[in-house]
């Protein structure tokens, strides 16, 4: 390192951390060139085409699955009585949870002035949007008559009927739709200056027109920047409570019910922590290959990866605490149904899934205590996948094992996913990846102008 890092930046990026958030040697120009080139000038790598085609094929599978679902009915899935919710709601909660990291990174870390967030916030937000899009599919299509699902919306109608506001599902509608709207606005507002950059640098007429339209006439005047900063900060303020509220409301779907294993007050914090946990895992899963493929190691440095690993470690511990308290209260509370529920999770027919969940979410992530692990890209990538699986299992365990043996032993049953359960789930993963591939190809995946503010030049001008 030729020139030592200025003092202010060390303060900004967190004391004591040796690795910078942007590799040395970059200038305003090189940052802009490097990021915009991915969209405008660089040859699209063959890997992009392969990945996109695979994702598109899976999206096709999703379309087929959903069409067949609408034509034939929920019966194509394995759901039954007593397990009336299974993969559908598991996937919904999983996707919504994944989305949380994006909002957390962009809004809360912005307000907390964690500038290291800058190089990951853009695609974390994009990931949020894609995840919410995937999540939204499930509550809509898991209804027996999806063409009437709009009855959950409060709209004036000739029947004079409102939704039943005591139902957490109605709260879900508000929570998720608000979340989707704010996330979209936040992401788009953040994009505007960069869209203008793309407009200015685009070689093709089509590009100039499209990016130009999307840039909303951004000219980079001081007034623009002033308005932008205000709007962005306001949106961050609005988005911040959503990080907590959305998954809290989602957890109400369970906590409000009387089913043993659902009816518990620990769910809101435990769900929020779990959401951030899985969200950061997904950001890692995505950012590690992207920085390798596009050579963005300069911008997404080990510092970022390590920070995210730390967040995962903390949230993972909160989640582990949740598991422990759930089991403890089941015993301490003396409720026979709760006690049986935990015992059934530990030893019942779904016990392998429960133990796999503990392994994935609690035991394996403890290696994050070691710095050598937190800075090992390969290990982090594998670990992020493990946590993704673990968090999916967590939702599956909560939903299916609580339902399959509830109060009356005469009604105990089991659930087994069918081909269509899997195809719908894989299909949403395909949709998620396809949208992300499009994003990476057509929009700057790192915020250009915000990256520029991280450069020593920017500090120098101050």
């Amino acid at each position: 390192m030729d020139n030592p890092m200025p003092l202010e930046e060390r303060q900004l990026t967190g004391a004591g951390s040796g690795v910078p958030v942007i590799a040395p040697g970059h200038t305003f120009g090189s940052v802009t060139d490097k990021i915009s080139a991915i969209v405008l000038t660089r040859r699209t790598p063959i890997g992009w085409y392969l990945g996109f085609m695979t994702a598109a094929a899976l999206t096709g599978l999703l379309l087929v699955s959903l069409s067949y679902l609408v034509v034939e009915g929920i019966g194509i899935w394995g759901n039954n009585i007593p397990v009336a919710w299974a993969f559908d709601i598991t996937n919904f909660v999983w996707w919504i949870g994944i989305g949380h990291a994006g909002t957390l990174i962009s809004a809360i870390l912005l307000l907390l002035r964690q500038t290291w967030r800058t190089s990951i916030n853009r695609f974390a937000e994009a990931m949020t949007l894609c995840a919410v899009a995937c999540a939204g599919i499930f509550p809509l299509f898991h209804t027996g008559r999806p063409w009437l699902a709009y009855w959950l919306l409060p709209y004036p109608n000739t029947m004079g009927i409102w939704p039943q506001f005591r139902s957490p599902l109605v709260w879900d509608v508000f929570a998720v739709s608000t979340y989707a709207t704010v996330s979209l606005l936040f992401w788009f507002v953040g994009l505007v200056p960069d869209l203008a950059t793309l407009r200015d640098r685009s070689q093709s007429r089509t590009g100039r027109i499209i990016y130009g339209a999307l840039a909303l006439g951004w000219r980079g005047s001081a007034m623009h920047w002033h308005r932008y900063e205000t709007a962005y900060l306001l949106l961050a303020g609005i988005a911040t409570p959503l990080v907590v509220s959305v998954h809290t409301v989602v957890s109400f779907d369970f906590a409000v019910a009387i089913v043993p294993g659902w009816h518990t007050t620990i769910f809101p914090p435990y769900f929020v922590a779990g959401a951030i946990y899985s969200g950061f895992a997904m950001v890692l899963t995505l950012s590690i290959p992207i920085r390798a493929i596009y050579g963005l190691q300069d911008f997404i440095t080990l510092r970022h990866l390590e920070n995210m690993a730390k967040v995962m470690l903390v949230t993972g511990l909160i989640v582990a605490y949740g598991y422990t308290v759930e089991a403890f209260i089941a015993w301490y509370g003396g409720n026979a149904y709760e006690g049986f529920m935990i015992w059934n999770r530990i030893t019942g027919p779904y016990a392998p899934a429960y133990w796999a969940l503990l392994l994935c979410n609690v035991i394996i992530p403890q290696i994050l205590w070691f710095k050598s692990v937190r800075t090992n890209v390969i290990v982090l990538f594998v670990l992020s996948l493990v946590v993704n699986v673990g968090m999916w299992l967590e939702r599956f365990i909560i939903i299916v094992t609580s339902l399959h043996r509830d109060f009356l032993p005469s009604s105990w049953g089991m659930y087994q996913p069918t081909f269509w359960d899997w195809s719908t789930y894989l299909g949403t993963i395909g949709l998620f990846l396809m949208l992300l591939f499009l994003f990476v190809r057509f929009l700057p995946l790192i915020s250009i102008f915000e990256m520029r503010t991280l450069l020593p030049e920017a500090k120098g001008e101050q």
Binding site: L169, L408, G413
Partner: protein, 995 residues
């Protein structure tokens, strides 16, 4: 209805039509020139118009509702009694196994839709069994035989008459030596008279009877005891101590409905000294055994010896030495039962089951006599059967005659002997030697396949007839609808063989009874109308035979019961009986009592024996304990014959014995019943029709999926069924509530409901319920509940609104069994109501938890949150919207649900509303008992009571005020409106709690 989709909707009448070969077309053009175009031309004028209509509809004119294509014709002059929307009820009767049950059938605009018991009929008292409830579906079954055919070709009735008359004319000189009539057990006096008439015309002709459901041994027992056929009738209302020797007298057999009611009426612990005590020695656990205060599982062959020991202790006969060596445990039982019977001379009762040999029946007669029960708890009458015979002998003789080529004309009136005949009687082979074979049956079944003439039989709701009930009471069988498929009754077929071939069933029956009464036309007409209205002929019950003195005490050891090795017991299936209901989806999908199996029979044995055979059944992940049980297939080898079936272990089944149910493995039952289960008739021989020894069971290593709706029968200490002993209960009735807490009523966020008008509630007496399932089918018929098929039951998606849970207490070798019917609880704090996002399930001001199908979007949250899991979801389009005949059978007062909606018990809200309209017209409140829910109405044990809780004088209010009353899962603060009355067992202190 699940009907094979590939073959669905397209019905063909003959194999030729299906094959569509040129000769068929040619014949068609000769016979029906006008129809040829419709069948052969792919684009007829009608199709063209249809296409035009469809394109107009697609163009956006209107395509919202599907209008029927047929023209409708309004009544020009409305029939006097017929008010659209108001059902009419007609009395009729249904016969099974030679015993009739009186019924009232609901008819909507000429379509019978629901069957109830006839309260005036002594064999029903308003109750019904599952078979009567399911008969409606049988009537409208699209797979019924539809045309009279000869070798597969359609023939008119007149051709048949000509043929049969010619055949009879040819027999005239031979006095009918080549004529044979084969019927099932005949309990119709008019039919018997017709047959006698025919036999008098053709003295050399013979009448045979074969009914696999007949009570072979009971008749033999009567012969052994009295030297003549006599029927025993039991007065359970008089009996304090009852001993059942493998007798399921509550759940099946003649008079079962009546006995169940009389028995239940003596189970009320509040009435001191009235509570009876039941001992059951039985093999396959039955509803009766599960209601017993003491049940001893024994292999079928062991029951006779133990009965003999009890008899010896009572001073009847002498106990054989071998039996005396039995373990001390059995001796304790023998002594205790004998002492208890002795102590209740004149008010005790011994009942031998139909599966026990004649010797045991004779022994039971002797014991009853010695105990002074005859004339008090048991009475004897002449048989209800018109002409009781040893039916095994009867079919054996017929087969021998056929085999010898002595039969020229065989007329099979009902039944399916090719399928049901004993395995060692080569009926099917011998049948081939008969010149002309005529089969009257509702389905083109295994027997029709081998007969020349197939006559579609009229359903009992389609034809006139008469029938005797269990006590001999005669009912006139009234049709409610003209034969849907041109069916004929046995009366009409026999008329065709008489001098008056075209005589209608109505005339035959009416004239028979006019001759019996000797009344003149006008006077008789008044009587006749009364009979039809009431459904019974007054005073027609058979008189008690008081002079049955010549009671032989049977020899102590004549029975050849040297049964060695693994035993096999044959039983009629509780759902499809002898196989005749195999194509009835309601019955196929009915979870059988105890086993809770649907759609299949199984090789049933005890857990210990299954373990010995190294076979087992285990829940799979698909549906689990509430769906799919993967069972090992065993091969049963018995007397050189073998079948393969899935093993199913049942707690309380005796060790060293397997039970197989008859009626499955049908090849030609119809689309619903074909290929379900295995055919146990293939093992059943004439000399051992009920049980035998020396069967070999070997695991094949293959597996089979059984659809089982409840595999887990343990209560897990949750006290769903509360059971106490009578002693405890008499000491302090509050014992029922010990260890159960109910939260205070103030513990709720929401304001209490007011219920100013009516406040509907239900009480179910667990102590009375025999688990017979009549409520389940009754509910299915009343509420248009679809059949989902085996595949969907495997996935845990059956649709029944009321289910009968069964729970065990105690060890698996001989547990106590309790039945608990579970409909919707209609909770006051309903967990389902709060979570529905669209308000599709709401609380009515009368306390009903209403389900608004139109509003339901199908999130299924309500089902997740229902602790009782009584909600059912239409995962597919389960209801058959297309088959025309099935549409006729639906209850027009109940919505037919579509795919994607939740449904559940409504407390029969349609019946409530109909009663409300009536009461409002008359300006009064609904009277107690005016509304009966479908489950309540069907229940033979009177275990279910529904009514207004705001009326302190109502029965349901009284029951809910009883000390035995408790709420299921009360600790959840759901405040169920449906409550249960705890079971009370009346133990013999000598035996203690050791069962």
């Amino acid at each position: 209805m699940t009907i094979d989709r590939t073959a669905g909707r397209e019905y063909w009448r003959t194999l030729d039509e299906l094959a569509d070969d040129p000769s068929f077309r040619e014949r068609l053009s000769n016979e029906f020139p006008s129809e040829v175009e419709a069948i052969t031309d792919p684009a007829t004028r009608r199709t063209f118009l249809k296409l035009m209509g469809a394109s107009l509809a697609l163009a956006g004119i209107t395509a919202c509702t599907r209008q029927p294509e047929e023209k409708i014709i309004p009544y020009v002059r409305q029939p006097e009694t017929l008010i659209p929307g108001k059902p009419l009820f007609f009395a009729t009767a249904m016969s099974l196994g030679g015993v009739a049950t009186g019924l009232l059938v609901e008819s909507h605009e000429g379509r019978p839709t629901k069957i109830e018991g006839n309260p005036l009929h002594p064999g029903s008292h308003g109750a019904t069994d599952v078979f009567a409830q399911a008969a409606i579906l049988g009537l409208y079954d699209p797979d019924r035989a539809r045309t009279l055919s000869h070798l597969g070709d359609i023939r008119p009735w007149s051709t048949f008459i000509a043929m049969v008359r010619a055949a009879l004319a040819a027999q005239q000189p031979l006095q009918g030596a080549g004529v044979r009539i084969l019927t099932e057990t005949v309990n119709s006096p008019a039919l018997a008279a017709q047959i006698q008439q025919l036999l008098s015309r053709f003295p050399a002709a013979k009448w045979h009877q074969w009914d696999p459901a007949s009570r072979h041994y009971a008749g033999g027992g009567a012969i052994a005891a009295f030297g003549q056929y006599l029927d025993a009738q039991y007065r359970l209302d008089q009996a304090d101590v009852i001993l059942a020797l493998d007798a399921d007298f509550l759940g099946s057999g003649p008079g079962g409905l009546r006995y169940a009611r009389d028995f239940a009426a003596r189970r009320l612990p509040a009435e001191a000294g009235r509570m009876n005590r039941l001992y059951a020695l039985e093999a396959m656990p039955t509803p009766t055994g599960s209601r017993a205060d003491h049940r001893l599982p024994l292999r079928p062959s062991e029951i006779g010896p133990v009965a003999r020991q009890i008899a010896a202790a009572l001073g009847v006969g002498s106990s054989d030495a071998a039996a005396a060596e039995r373990s001390g445990d059995i001796q304790k039982w023998v002594a205790a039962i004998a002492n208890d019977l002795q102590a209740h001379r004149g008010t005790s009762l011994v009942i031998a089951g139909d599966s026990q040999p004649a010797g045991v029946h004779a022994l039971a007669h002797a014991m009853n006599r010695s105990l002074g029960n005859v004339g008090r708890t048991v009475v004897y009458t002449d048989p209800v059967e018109a002409a009781p015979v040893d039916q095994i002998q009867s079919i054996r003789e017929l087969t021998a005659d056929m085999d010898a080529g002595q039969v020229d004309l065989l007329v099979v009136l009902g039944g399916n002997p090719v399928y049901t005949a004993p395995a060692d009687i080569p009926f099917a082979r011998a049948l081939d030697r008969v010149q002309t074979r005529v089969h009257l049956s509702q389905y083109a079944d295994e027997t029709s396949e081998l007969c020349h003439w197939q006559i579609p039989e009229a359903h009992f709701l389609e034809a006139w007839g008469d029938a005797r009930g269990f006590d001999g009471t005669v009912s006139i069988v009234q049709p409610l609808i003209a034969p849907l498929y041109g069916g004929r009754s046995a009366h009409e077929v026999l008329a065709a063989m008489s001098e008056t071939p075209e005589k209608s069933g109505y005339d035959i029956v009416r004239e028979h009874w006019m001759a019996q009464t000797g009344a003149v036309e006008t006077a008789f007409d008044r009587q006749w109308r009364r009979w039809l209205h009431d459904g019974v002929i007054p005073g027609s019950a058979l008189p008690e035979r008081t002079a049955v003195s010549a009671l032989a005490v049977p020899d102590a050891s004549p029975e050849p019961e040297t049964v060695a090795g693994l035993e096999i017991a044959f039983r009629l299936d509780p759902a499809v009986l002898d196989g005749r209901f195999a194509n009835n989806g309601w019955l196929q999908e009915l979870p059988k009592p105890i086993t809770k199996l649907t759609w299949d029979n199984a090789v049933i044995t005890s857990p210990a024996t299954a373990a010995e055979l190294r076979v087992s059944g285990r829940p799979s992940a698909q549906g689990g304990e509430h769906g799919q049980i993967i069972s090992d297939i065993v091969e049963l080898k018995y007397r050189d014959r073998a079948v393969r079936g899935a093993i199913f272990a049942v707690a309380g089944h005796p060790d060293g014995c397997v039970t197989v149910h008859l009626g499955y493995g049908r090849r030609r039952a119809g689309r619903v019943g074909n290929g379900m289960g295995f055919n146990a008739y293939a093992l059943r021989t004439a000399d051992a029709p009920m049980f035998g020894g020396g069967v070999e069971a070997t695991a094949t290593g293959e597996e089979y999926s059984l659809a089982c709706t409840q595999y887990h029968h343990l209560m897990e200490g949750r006290g769903m069924v509360r059971a106490v002993t009578r002693e405890e209960y008499m000491r302090d009735p509050r014992v029922v509530h010990e260890g159960h807490e109910e939260p205070p009523r103030t513990l709720t966020m929401y304001a209490e409901h007011k219920y100013e008008g009516y406040k509907w509630g239900m009480a179910i007496d667990v102590n009375a319920c025999i688990g017979c399932n009549a409520c389940v089918v009754g509910c299915q018929a009343e509420n248009n509940i679809p059949v989902v098929g085996k595949d969907q039951v495997l996935r845990g998606r059956e649709m029944h609104w009321i289910r009968v849970d069964s729970y065990y207490a105690g060890g698996s070798d001989n547990p106590e069994t309790y039945f608990q019917p579970v409909p919707c609880m209609h909770c006051e704090n309903a967990p389902c109501e709060v979570v529905c996002p669209v308000g599709a399930t709401v609380h009515s001001h009368e306390g009903l938890n209403d389900m608004v199908y139109n509003r339901c979007v199908g999130t299924r949250y309500c089902s997740n949150n229902c602790p009782y899991k009584v909600r059912r979801f239409n995962y597919h389009l389960y209801q058959d919207w297309d088959t025309p005949s099935l549409k006729l059978g639906r209850n027009p007062d109940v919505t037919v649900r579509s795919r994607g909606v939740m449904e559940k018990c409504t407390y029969c809200v349609q019946r409530i509303n109909s009663a409300k309209i009536e009461s409002e017209k008359e300006g009064r409140r609904i009277r107690d008992g005016e509304i009966k829910t479908a489950c309540q109405q069907a229940c033979p044990a009177d275990a279910i009571v529904f009514g207004d809780l705001n009326d302190p004088g109502s029965r349901v209010a009284a029951m809910q005020a009883e000390a035995r009353n408790y709420s299921l899962l009360a600790e959840l603060n759901t405040r169920p409106r449906t409550t249960y009355l705890a079971a009370v067992r009346n133990l013999n202190p000598e035996l203690g709690d050791g069962l």
